[in-house]
Subunit: 356 residues, 2 copies
Amino acid sequence: MTSRQRAATSVTLADVAARAGVSPATVSRVLNDSYPVSASTRDRVTRAVRELKYVVNGHARALAASTSMVVGVIVNDVSDPFFSQIVRGIQTEAAHDGKLVVICNTEGEPARELSYLELLRQQRAHSVLLTGAAVDDPVHLAELAEQGRGLLAQGGRLVLCGRPRLPDVDAPAVTFANHAGASALARHLVELGHRRIAYLTGPLGRTTTAERFAGFREQLAAAGVPLAPELVLSGGFTRAAGYDNTRALLAAGAEFTALVTANDAMAFGALAALREHGIDVPDQVSVAGFDDLPFCVDSAPPLTTVRLPLTEAGALAARLAAGREPVPFGGVVTLQGELVVRRTVNRPPSQPGGQR
Amino acid sequence: MTSRQRAATSVTLADVAARAGVSPATVSRVLNDSYPVSASTRDRVTRAVRELKYVVNGHARALAASTSMVVGVIVNDVSDPFFSQIVRGIQTEAAHDGKLVVICNTEGEPARELSYLELLRQQRAHSVLLTGAAVDDPVHLAELAEQGRGLLAQGGRLVLCGRPRLPDVDAPAVTFANHAGASALARHLVELGHRRIAYLTGPLGRTTTAERFAGFREQLAAAGVPLAPELVLSGGFTRAAGYDNTRALLAAGAEFTALVTANDAMAFGALAALREHGIDVPDQVSVAGFDDLPFCVDSAPPLTTVRLPLTEAGALAARLAAGREPVPFGGVVTLQGELVVRRTVNRPPSQPGGQR
DNA sequence: CCAGGTGATGAAAGCGCTTACTGTGATGGC
DNA sequence: GCCATCACAGTAAGCGCTTTCATCACCTGG
């Protein structure tokens, strides 16, 4: 209720210096302990700091020393567990060297990706981590690369996480073995006897979508299992897309004994759609996702999926950005996924007439 | 592979001025369009900016104008959907006025809360939003209040979100009607005939824990339903705690027809534990949570819970912080929850011997 | 007793911007 | 036709720090 008068100016380093009876330079030296200072002087300074409740001005410091505490993270949507998991990895790592993590939600819009990058450059971000939303529109990519190069030229660091490298930009990338993961999943299904497998891809034009689908498709081909075009639908990486596309499949009377979705969120939607249609998972239809979000253990039924080391990826990217980890040869490190078998996959129901 | 030479210095406003043949002041004026500039001059400047690929130095600007673009958010854990939902609300709102959101993970440790607040003060954060982890240790609270006052004195703004106000600090709070929500849940259960209801509280010493439990307890009392002490256990706000405590209840042979947990994460754990024991939900035991995380619709079975407007709370807090929303009388706005009935609650099984 | 260290401190020049405060010509009222 | 007015543009003084360079007292060996 009390609306206090707002103090316009705050305590400065000069004030501390005056109070301690030393020069500003000395105060700076004890603050950063960047140079030997005698114990008695140091004491006087720290006491003055405490008495005056001095808090250094980060902007002034950043300006004078041209260093920055901020690490930018550009992400599709923090509230998506896929990203929030990565962000946590980054945050934990950044905290180690006292950096501040600013998160930028692009909501999948390339334009925002660009404008956030610009904002981050204005703040002279120490480093920025670009994750998700790897739209492969060439124009956008070119602009992104341009911004990336600008950032690097300013002395910042750029690391990609979960997306491929940018053309002509010297930035390392942490990626996932999407192809291998999807292959493993496909193999699992084929080995159990599935022959008609539906696949719900992510949004078109995204690298992740392409890699996962390719891994799936190629594995089927290798096993001699045909992939029916009418069983492949695409949509967003969302639960809603999974739900809608599964309903579309069902409405079209498509026949399949397994359904693979490009990520877990879509799988949850698929499970819901199947349940509504009274189709039992896994006895009538098997379902599998990708990512292994924490919630997979609690879905109905618990979801078979491919686990991606999300937090670890974030942490690794952050370490790369901090220069605390050597950049691997070729500039990209690929993290392997792992097939996690739970309860949504079973043998296909044995049917009277063999369908293929 | 190409390790380019890192440019030590970047283009400054003075460079732009020189190129455009005007004074730095003029450049600044067109950049911020803070003062009328003739069209032709403006053109020359913008052209120079583009040609030189000039990007303003945010630190210099912040120092000179004593303004800041950063909004700090102090949170328990970004990867927890409860918080990430709030963060998204904040982020979206902050993006409106071009602010950068820095997120600080305390992992529930009061010490980090404090050190992040300090860091944020160093950065002269425009505002900070404090959410979660409302440990009510008096010493911690006092230090927090101290920091909060310091922030305010520096001209920053402080808003609490999902936690009660700080003593002697003039900061508004956005809170949830925990008491009312828990009451509604209790009433629902009682009306269906439940008489032996177990309750898993959150961590002791947290306001949220206390409020939710009080709402529950008082509603039972009002309905004349006894609350058996052996049916109340407490633990963290985590799935693991829900799982463990439910198992403990079961192991102790406790008898209950309904189980209420202080949040959804715990409820998911409870459902898993019940399932492992072959107990059917909701036919043998009813379960209810609190928060209404997005996953509630996909759990097995879909969870009956109390919906909290998380994203909205974050957005509101952000608007309050930005001064874009008037601070309500009393400084606190309480957002109501809403009972969401799904599939985990049913009438209690009718038993031969009525137990109470 | 003094040249040459050595170790702690101070003076001052920025870092890149904003923003009073001053100048200007060009206008317009009388 | 002259001076107040106006609309821009420039000058320069910071904002609060870091950091180079100079200073100064004091010590050590010859």
